[in-house]
């Protein structure tokens, strides 16, 4: 994302719009909004260079609360809309705000295809494992058996893992965190921005009204350090309040190792964010069997979609005539006198 203006410093409040925010009191969306605004301030690009595109859902209301350009699209389609915005104007910093229903149910196909195209847009998926705006039906990430308005006897479908899906689709950047981890969230949004290509950020978000507490068993303040693991490229996979646990890749999967704080066994896995097998294996780890992985799970360099498209245009211009008259007059032309 190249920006012509020389960079200036911003406050997060510079990215607030004058609209009052209308999410339910207690909704995690407030926290993500704040983190997003803080991240944009840190990124330091002027607001007119940002475009925030969303679908439909509670989460997708976010663009109205930003002082940047925004587009509140239709359900499931923010990704292609953002693709069009970006291809038309590659200078822009383009963000997608979407929900688990928006991105994984009706919009699932676009998610797959943007990953393999590697369009330079940043996708923030607000995963509350429920349909909030339509008042509490299950979503593709809802836990099997969950009782809700459209499944009074419980859902019968296995939940889909967004991270695994993104990886299988060829994602070049995949990260995860929880809405409550403000600093971490800000940091990951900034990392996503730095990445050239599609960045996919999976954010656990608590829906206070229809799915309150679904993530508590591994994100609640007191226990989170022992039930999450924040991975970092080149660093050993160590976690725990006391930093006394770690993960070791053994055979074809990870296993937990406990140790004396301070001296971990050296066969603890050093994380490699370019190793797909690691990322895929992590994507299948859940509490209580395992700590839930957070952080940048995958990051690889690949040319972006719009880069390649404009590259072809340039090459064509060098190779062929660009004279419109020549075009029209191509083929056999004859004259009537």
């Amino acid at each position: 994302m190249s920006v012509t203006e020389q960079e200036v410093k911003y406050k997060w409040t510079d990215f607030k719009s004058d609209q009052d925010v209308r999410w339910c009191p207690g909704c995690d969306d407030y926290a993500i909004l704040k983190a997003f605004q803080m991240a944009l301030a840190e990124i330091g690009i002027p607001r007119e260079k940002h475009v925030v595109v969303s679908g439909i859902g509670c989460s997708s209301r976010l663009p109205y609360y930003m002082s940047t350009y925004g587009f509140h699209g239709i359900h499931g389609r923010p990704i292609p809309i953002a693709t069009g915005v970006k291809v038309a104007n590659p200078d822009l910093s383009v963000w997608v705000i979407t929900g688990d229903g928006d991105a994984l149910s009706i919009g699932g196909n676009h998610l797959i295809h943007v990953m393999r195209r590697n369009v330079d847009i940043k996708i923030l998926l607000f995963d509350n494992r429920i349909y909030g705006l339509t008042k509490g039906q299950y979503s593709p990430t809802s836990n099997k058996g969950m009782i809700n308005r459209s499944a009074p006897m419980g859902t019968v479908e296995e939940a889909v893992e967004p991270v695994a899906l993104a990886l299988a689709s060829g994602a070049s950047f995949v990260a995860r965190t929880d809405a409550a981890y403000l600093r971490h969230l800000v940091q990951l949004i900034v990392e996503a921005h730095k990445h050239k290509g599609t960045a996919f950020l999976h954010i656990y978000q608590n829906c206070y009204v229809y799915n309150d507490g679904v993530f508590d068993d591994f994100t609640a303040k007191e226990i989170r350090d022992d039930r999450n693991i924040i991975v970092e490229h080149g660093k050993p996979l160590i976690y725990g309040k006391k930093r006394d646990k770690g993960l070791r890749f053994k055979g074809t999967k990870f296993e937990i190792v406990e140790f004396e704080p301070g001296n971990p066994p050296e066969d603890i896995t050093i994380y490699d964010e370019t190793n797909l097998a690691f990322a895929f294996a992590l994507s299948k780890l859940y509490w209580p069997e395992y700590p839930v992985p957070m952080g940048v799970l995958r990051r690889v360099e690949q040319p972006s979609f719009e880069e390649l498209i404009y590259g072809q245009v340039e090459r064509a211009k060098q190779k062929f005539s660009t004279d419109l008259n020549k075009l029209i007059y191509s083929g056999d032309v004859w004259e009537v006198k």
Binding site: G70, H72, A88, D332, V336
Partner: protein, 614 residues
Amino acid sequence: MGKKTEKLEKVTVKFAGDSGDGVQVLGDQFGNATAVVGNDFATLPDYPAEIRAPQGTTYGVSSYQIQFAAYDIYTPGDIPDVLVAFNPAALKVNLTSLKPGGLIIVNEDEFTEQNLRKAGFTSNPLEDDSLSSFRIYKAPITKLTIESLKDEPIGHKDKERCRNFLALGMMCWLFSRPLDPVINFLQKRFANKAQIFEANLKALKAGYNVCDTMEIFPIHYQLLPAKLEPGKYRNINGALATAYGLVVAAHKSGLQLIYSGYPITPASEALHNLAALKQYGAITIQAEDEISAITIALGATYSGALGVTGTSGPGLALKSEALNLAVMTELPLIVFDFQRSGPSTGMPTKTEQTDLLFALFGRPAESPVIVLAPLSPADCFWTSIEAVRLATKYMTPVIVLSEQFLVHSSEPWKLPDLNQIPPIEVKFRTDPNGFHPYIRDEKTLARPWVKLGTRGLEHTLGGLEKSNIFGTISYDPENHDLMNKLRAQKLQRVAQDIPDAQAVGPSDADVVVVGWGGTYGHIKAAVESANQDGMKVSMIQLRHLNPLPKNLGDLLRRFKKVLVPELNLGQLSYIIRAKYLIDATGYNRITGKPFTVSELLNFIKDEYESLRMH
């Protein structure tokens, strides 16, 4: 040439054979040769639905029809005077539509037991008397080809492939066309395949000479040049004209063209043509589906580019939801619908005009858009430009209703002087003072268009109803009523900006034939001969369908009878009845084929007479 020569006014020739016989190239090149001698012409290729059906089967037959004349004509002709059949199947499927006394030229080498069976002949029509009502010429086209190429250093298969150019040579002789344009083509086409070039050239000339020497045809024909307007011409089909129009419109408006589509027959042609025009800045994206295609185009439009998408039948249905978003956000998105036979998959390679009411009402809620329809292959160029002009000026989506028939059909196109084409003024808003997303231009009611990245104009658009002027989310009942009415009023403003409808014909005509889009040529031909037959009939062909020209109601009321032929069950009739309470009489056929001039003429005659009787 020691043969008798006969002068002709106009003639329709049809080439038919296996997909593998190269009849499409043959047809195109015959067209070029025809153009050069200055005849007017129109062509109609017809492809089988199957990619490559087994050889010799009736459903594998591909054909190419061309009408050419010493005066200007408007259609590829109803039924051929001359049929060139490369195999029994080609003869079989075309027998039913052939002029009695017409000429049939067959490649007798292909009339083998097996091929006859495949084609469903119980006995060989060349031997029984089933063809007695035609003039048959049997030519051993395959043998002649092989024979003429016996010294060529290429394989047997390759030699056989030259059949079509041998046949072309014969046709050039029969209708006195020069070989040079064909030779030019061969040179380009096989620039770096010298042997293949040589072979085809030999075959071409052999075909020509054999007619001179051997007794294949007793006579040959000549047609005088047509008196076309002076100027430079080229042959063009609708798909190419559409693409050229978009590229020129992008140039004239200074906008980046982004065409985003998902392949579908026949819309894919536009995608292919534009994909090959990158040097003119055209960007094409093949999306994962039609919904992605239109939303990518919409995103591009919001970003400040010329976003265009194109599709057919089933794909159009999928774009309905996103089109409504374009209507709500009042963005100049352009959607091409290359109409094909439906509903559902229908007959994908066939033509009809059945999407008119869908274009008007194919979106939930009140959702007005501009609707245009090109009248001919070449007119597709001008319609593309008009679509861009109206969309950007009124900040309203446009649907262009093209037709499968126009996509492939071709005609001579009088080449325009690009400098004479007026620029398309697009003024992006840059001034933050007094800016609101839905503040409207008094004349056009258009809201401002902002190039993303412009400082001080940051705003959010979306599908929720917005307050007029300010563009904030609004549940205000009166505002919603107002916005619905404003969106509708915009179309009335457009009506002030498009040409009045013209009734072409005798001043004292009391019958008018009203058509729209691609039936132009057939209706024109029918109306002209009606007048030649002594009837007094006018015609109006509509290019702007929503809004309709503001004078149309009054114009129609001048006539005692309003006839509306359409390739649907009466969609324009329905609109005319609803808007003007005029009892329009429809002629409605949905066969997957264009009208024939003669059926239209009969329809006009009947109605004309019934009017006289009462």
